[in-house]
Each structure stands twice: as C-alpha cells, then as structure tokens.
Amino acid sequence: MMAPLDSGFKGKLTVLNLLTAGVALFIAGAVLILHEYYTQRDDLNGQLASLGEVVAENSSAALAFHDARAGLETLRSLRVLPNIIVAALYDREGKLFASYRRDGGSESSSLVPDNLADADHGLEGQMAVTRHVRLDGYQIGTVLIRSDLAALRGRLFGYGAVLLAVLYTSLGAAYLLMTRLRRRLADAEESLQAMNETLEERVADRTRELEIANRELEAFSYSVSHDLRAPLRAINGFSQIILESEAGQISEEGKRLFERIVHNSNRMGQLIDDILEYSRAGRSQLEKTKVDIGALAGAVVKDLAEDYRSTTVDLGSLPVVDADRAMLRQILENLIGNAFKYSAGSARPQIEIGLQPNAGESVFYVRDNGVGFDMQYAGKLFGMFQRMHTVGQFPGTGVGLAIVKRLIERHGGRIWAESELGQGSTFFFTLE
C-alpha cells in the first residue's frame, strides 16, 4: 500500500522550494543592486571630475588676482548640488584659499584642512576629487570637491525595498501556486489510494469467495467419494454372490471376468478410502499434546514388524514433541510402513529411525536400504496418486505420502527425501 506523503515532509518541501527560489532571487537582486551602485558611483565620480574641471576653470582669475571673495562665489555656485558637502580652493603652495561648506560651516573643518597635503580622500561615505587650476598652462592652484553618497545610498535603499517587495510578492505567488498544485497532487494521490484500498478489498473478497468455493469443492468431493462407496459395495457384493451361488452356471471366462470386477471394485474402494483420508487430513481439528515420538514409533514398528520378520529395525532415542497424537501416528505408520515395504526385497532389510539435530530444529528421519527411487522424480514424490513403482511390484494407491505431507504441513513442518536407486531412501521431516 502506498503511504500518503507525510504532511511534515510536504511542509519541509514547500519551505525548501521557497528558500531556493528566495535565495536565487535575492542573489540576483543583490548582484544587480551592487552593479547599479558601482555604476552610479563611477557616474558620480565622472560628474565630480567634470565639476572640478569647471570650478577650476572659473577659479583661475580669482586665484591669479588673489580674490578670495570671487573664489568663494565660484565655489558657492555648487550649492545647487545638495550632494556637495564641501568645496575648496588651494593656492599653488597648497594653502587654503577659499572654501564652501554646504551647511553654512557646520561641516567638519577636517574635511577642508588648511593644507591640501592633509586632505583625506578616502573618507567613509564620501567621494572626493581634486583638479588643478591652470593659467596659461601653469598650475596656480587646486580645487577640492567632496560629495556625500547619501543620494546614492538612498537610491540603493530604494532598490533594496523594491527587491524585498519583489521577493515578498514572488515568494507569496510561488507559495500560492505550490499549495494549489499540492492540493491537486493530494487529490490525485487520494483517489489512487482509494483505488488501492478497494483493490485490496476486492482481492480479499475474491480470496474469500475462492476459499468458500474450494471448501465447497472439497466437501463435494468428500460427499461424492463417500456416496460412491454404497453403489460400489453393491457392485462388489452382488458380483461375489454371483461368483459363489451361480458358479456352476457361468463359464470359466465369465467367472474370470467377475473376479476382475470384484478385484477392481475392491481397489476402487481402497482409492475412495484413501481420498477420504486425505480429505480428512486437511479438515480434521489439530489437537496438540505432549507426545513421546520414540514410544509412538516403537508401537508402530511393533504392529508392522509382524509381516516383515527378516527386517532389523534400529530405533534411536527420540524426544517428546508437541503434536496431534493421531496425526503423528498416521505419519509414522506411512513412513515406517513404506520403509518396510520397499526394503522387503533386500538381502538384509534394515530400517533406521532417528533424530538429526540441524541448526536449531529437530529433523527426524526414517531410513531404509530398499529399492530407492530416482532423485529426478523427487518433486513428484509427495503428489496425489504419484507412484514410482507399479501396483504389481508394490501395492498401494499413491496417496500415502500426499497425506503425510499434508499432516506435517498442518503441524507447520517440512518433509523431503533423499535416495539412490537400489541403495535405499531416507525421509526427513520436521514438526514446526
């Protein structure tokens, strides 16, 4: 199932997106503003330089005739430019000749030192230019003009405000857009999720239906098998009656045919019994108790050994297990019975029953030295009606191992086998 995106994660994603956009916008804006600032600084510097040139040109006579009043008048013409803090004229020796201060002299006098050599050009927040005053090609003085950068900085703040406004509105717009898109995405996600949920429901419904159908089918086959027994008994019984009471009136050929009917109906009855047993193995209640598997195996061996007197049985020590006693007995009867059956033809039939500890689980085994089977058919060994040998060689219906497998699986265990043709087989199983 697809989990919906965590809302905290969504929030972080939004913040991250906005942050990225904001940083990009901010950097672009800041670079633009810085570029603008330096461009305007250069412009201002150029303006001041040409202003200095003009003032120098107009101050030459005042300096030549030592007319400080005229010099001051020239400098005062700068008052139309509010960014000019101070302007000063120095004579050829660099001594202060005339000076203009923007605010009627309140500007710090350190801005216009008595000697040009003391003038500081690199004052914070200011820009200064000096220009030589020339007369007929000879320098007769110097003009010093200082401008503040207030207008420039004011404009810079203006740009900053615009940048902030742009940041604010564009991030706001981006946020709105993102929430809208996210809502749409969430809607799509929801419908997908709803579809997933109904899908699961549908699968569960279908599974339930299948389970019911399977149970019905099993019940049906059980009852069919069960109901087949009665007519089969009739066939078998009446055939035997005919064979016994009418033996003189039917031919030898007829007698032989009736014997075959009896034989086959017997075999069919056996098959039906096995099917019913297999079915029961899947349906009966599992009742677990403490079972001494060693004692149980001993009892089974004792029952079966009567028919196989030449077979030696080696029963190892086995633990007490949690299992359904009846089912465990059936498992052991099948496996040990097979071992007796398939080893009976050996020169010295031998059966070994034991426990093989293996990585924390108990693996039981039943080994014989009988005919064995071809390992390439090992996969079919536990299938229904699968037989490795003909009925003539070894009697049986091919249901026993299928039942064993089913019973072991009901206990949560596994079963597998190893064999070599003519050397015997070993069946391993675990119980949970």
Binding site: A62, A64, H66, E73, I140
Partner: protein
Amino acid sequence: MAFFRFTSIRRLLVGMAAACGLIPGAALSQAAPEYALKAAYIYNFALFVDWPAEVRKSGPFVLCVTGSDLFGTAFDAIAGKPVKSQKLFVRRIDGLQGLDDCHMLYIAPAEELRLDRILEQVGVRPILTIADGENWSGRGVMINLEMKQYRLTFDVNLDAVKRAGLGMSSRLLRLASSVHGRLP
C-alpha cells in the same frame, strides 16, 4: 580674514605677491612690495585678455612703460615670462613715440598731464592700457589699479577695451571692482 595677521601693509603685500606665486623671492627684496604686486597683476592681465590674431604674431610680447614709474626692478620679475606662446618683454618708451610694437602700455601717474594726449595717440590700436592713477579708467584707461583697504583692486573701462578690439575674459571682469561701459 587672513590679511589681518599681517602687521603692516608692506608685509601684507609681500605675502599677497608671494601667494600669487608669480614673483620669485629674489625680486621681492629689490622691488617695493606694492609694485611687485602691481607687476604681477599686469602680467596676469596679459593672460586674461585676448589680442586680435594679427598682432599675436611670433616674437616678443611687449609691455611698454611710459613716464617715470616707481616700479624700480619690479618689472624684472615678470620680464621673460611666457604669455601664451610668446615671451614678455618690457620696454620703456616716450609716451608719444614707438607705440607700434606694444601689446600693453603702462602709463605712470607722473604722466597725468599728458594722459589725454597719450590715450589719443594710442587711439583704437589693440593696446591694453594700464595705469595706477586716480580714477583714470573714467578718463579712458582700460585697467586702472588702485589700493583699497590693503587690497590691490582694479577698475575696467570696457568701452575702451572693446574699441581697441581686445577681448577681456569675463572671469577677469568679475574681479573688477567697477566696470565702465556695457557688459557684453
């Protein structure tokens, strides 16, 4: 004002002349400070006045001096200095003779009685007339120097300047304490 730091007119004038940067220190000891300054002014006038192209030929730029003046050696300080592409040359003449080569003519106060005749002789020749008499600009001298309250000032007779076909820089005119005639 800085002028009051000086204790005498003499020292004031020397200081001003030195401040103008036009007078070598050696000249000051020999010339009277007032006249050293006047000489510096006269030299500066040459720089703010334009003569017609035909008289600005190569050769010396001639400052003629007429009458017995009080400059002593003051003119030595400016003699040989450059005026645009020319070199300044000081020549003493008799007021009524040898005016042809002059670019500027200084008329000493001693010529008071002959002033009108001298000016008549100059006529409309492109010669900048300079004097330091009493209100002589009203009598037709183009630039008249005058000491006023420890300052050397000058008056300009603009009509005379124009009649002579000379051009005077507005920057110079602005410094004049009074101007006769219409401003351009």
